[in-house]
């Protein structure tokens, strides 16, 4: 394992230990007993969310560009991708990839097998694909709403297609689409709870294991509080990014 990986793991354990020693004396007994599990699940959920949304943004931008392209060979596959992954439940997608493709085994999947063997990688993969389909649609809306004069001005200034996109269109499209995208990230956080059905011990997975052990309902309440903290922190972070992207003099929320 790399040094960074080890450092990250150590950091997680240290954080979990310190949070639990701090919180345990003042928290209800059930929570105190299972504190390390809750914190561990919290981190797994956070990791899944950050990784899938970051990879999702990249794919979504490509999808949005393909969808707005005038070439049918690009726009049609992108449209179908969005249509299929937005039209089916995330739970079904997870089960198709984990139980469905996973059942093909090593002989059926070849070098892809390690990816499909582990619930965590399948979960990450499926969440990325799912969110990129939704975000692709959102970014497409942003691109379409950039005033046409901007394209013409860029062309008149001698920019080629890629420069126009990178310098003129995408920054503005992102600014328009950001409030809607923030919503999608919160939906992704809630959707990520479903990876617990494919054996991943995220916050929801840990909650279900703990509940199966002691059958006490307050376990769910602690999970809700932790999810509230996660989504609250995310909302603040997304709002900060939104403010950074704002042009000077532009009123808050005017871009939405």
């Amino acid at each position: 394992m790399s040094t960074i990986g080890r450092l990250y793991l150590d950091g997680k354990i240290w954080l979990s230990d310190s949070v639990c020693t701090l919180v345990s004396p003042v928290s209800p007994e059930t929570f105190a007993n299972f504190c390390p599990r809750f914190i561990d699940g919290f981190f797994v959920s956070l990791e899944l969310l950050l990784l899938s949304s970051l990879m999702g943004i990249v794919i979504a931008l490509a999808i949005a560009l393909a969808r707005t392209s005038s070439t049918v060979l690009l726009s049609l596959p992108a449209y179908l991708y969005c249509y299929v992954f937005r039209g089916t439940p995330l739970l079904v997608q997870l089960w198709v990839f984990y139980y469905g493709f996973g059942a093909l085994g090593e002989e059926g999947l070849g070098f892809l097998w390690p990816l499909f063997r582990d619930g965590y990688t399948v979960g990450l993969f499926t969440l990325t694909i799912n969110t990129s389909a939704y975000a692709g649609e959102i970014f497409r809306g942003g691109i379409v709403n950039v005033p046409h004069g901007q394209y013409e001005a860029a062309t008149a200034a001698g920019m080629d297609w890629w420069t126009t996109m990178r310098r003129i269109v995408l920054p503005q499209a992102l600014r328009i689409a950001w409030p809607a995208y923030s919503n999608e990230v919160i939906l992704l956080l809630k959707g990520s709870a479903l990876v617990s059905t494919i054996t991943v011990l995220d916050l929801m997975g840990q909650t279900r294991t703990i509940f199966a052990r002691n059958y006490s309902l307050d376990v769910f309440l602690y999970a809700i509080v932790l999810y509230l903290i996660l989504s609250g922190a995310l909302t603040v972070l997304l709002r900060l990014i939104e403010r950074r992207m704002m042009l000077p003099g532009e009123a808050a929320g005017a871009a939405g």
């Binding site: 249509y83 299929v84 937005r86 039209g87 089916t88 439940p89 995330l90 739970l91 079904v92 997608q93 089960w95 198709v96 139980y99 469905g100 493709f101 996973g102 059942a103 093909l104 059926g108 919160i186 956080l189 809630k190 959707g191 990520s192 709870a193 479903l194 617990s196 059905t197 929801m204 909650t207 279900r208 509940f211 309902l217 769910f220 999970a223 809700i224 999810y227 509230l228 989504s231 609250g232």
Partner: protein, 240 residues
């Protein structure tokens, strides 16, 4: 692999097609029941949010914030186990120590409706405020009572503003019904799971379930477009 398993999807004793269709029916039942209850609760919640009493407004805001941040899956489990526990302790309190088992279908409907109504309330609230104020004033000027203004002027127009949002929520609801499979309601996804476990052809059945969901959302999308067009009829199309 998938192709050679296609006979498994036929209707009859050897195929699982009829089971999948039965599951599909349960999925639709779940969705329509949750929709009906959720719309009523959503209207009430929107009323609470627009109320002049701070307590009701506060409740509305807290409830929406809670539903927005909590995973649907968690809410469903909480409703399922929580309602069973609550009714059981209520029975014990009355002096009837019989064990009570919450019907899973009912629990799933309540959970889905509880989620749906929070988002529907936002849509209704927006639609309520979208009706131009001048029309309300005109109604009052004509001597209408506030109730008459509401059901003659506001309500008929609210639908027009609410339909796009509600259509979106319906699609979300339809997809969320698949969560009921996890608490063992025999919906489409669970039938696919049962079939795949007994035939050992999971890819075929989960893909088939996915295709049926895609069909359901596709039909819903087309229906929403027609409804939207119908709601807009007679209006000037200046903005297109």
């Amino acid at each position: 692999m998938v192709l050679e398993n296609l006979p498994l999807l036929t209707i009859g004793d050897t195929g699982w097609g009829d089971e999948l269709l039965a599951g599909c029916l349960v999925t639709l039942e779940l969705a329509f029941c949750a929709l009906a209850i959720g719309l009523v609760l959503g209207l009430l919640l929107a009323g609470a949010k627009l109320s002049k009493y701070a307590v009701l407004r506060g409740f509305g805001e807290v409830y929406t914030a809670f539903i927005r941040a909590t995973p649907e899956f968690l809410i469903l489990l909480l409703v399922y186990f929580g309602s069973e526990r609550a009714i059981q302790s209520l029975l014990a309190l009355v002096g009837l120590p019989i064990s009570f088992e919450m019907p899973r279908f009912v629990a799933a409907v309540i959970g889905l409706a509880a989620i749906f109504c929070a988002y529907a309330a936002e849509v209704f609230r927006g639609a309520y405020l979208a009706v131009p104020h001048g029309q309300i004033e005109a109604g009052i000027a004509c001597g209408m009572s506030s109730w008459r203004v509401f059901h003659r002027i506001r309500l008929p127009q609210m639908w027009r503003f609410a339909i796009p949002g509600l259509g979106n929520l319906w699609m979300v609801l339809l997809k969320d019904t698949s969560l009921a499979a996890v608490i063992a309601v025999d919906d489409l996804l669970r039938q696919a799971k049962i079939a795949s476990e007994s035939t050992r052809a999971p890819l075929t059945f989960y893909l088939a379930a996915g295709a049926i969901y895609l069909l359901l959302t596709g039909v819903s999308d087309a229906a929403r477009e027609r409804l939207e067009r119908r709601a807009q009829r007679g209006l000037a199309r200046a903005q297109g």
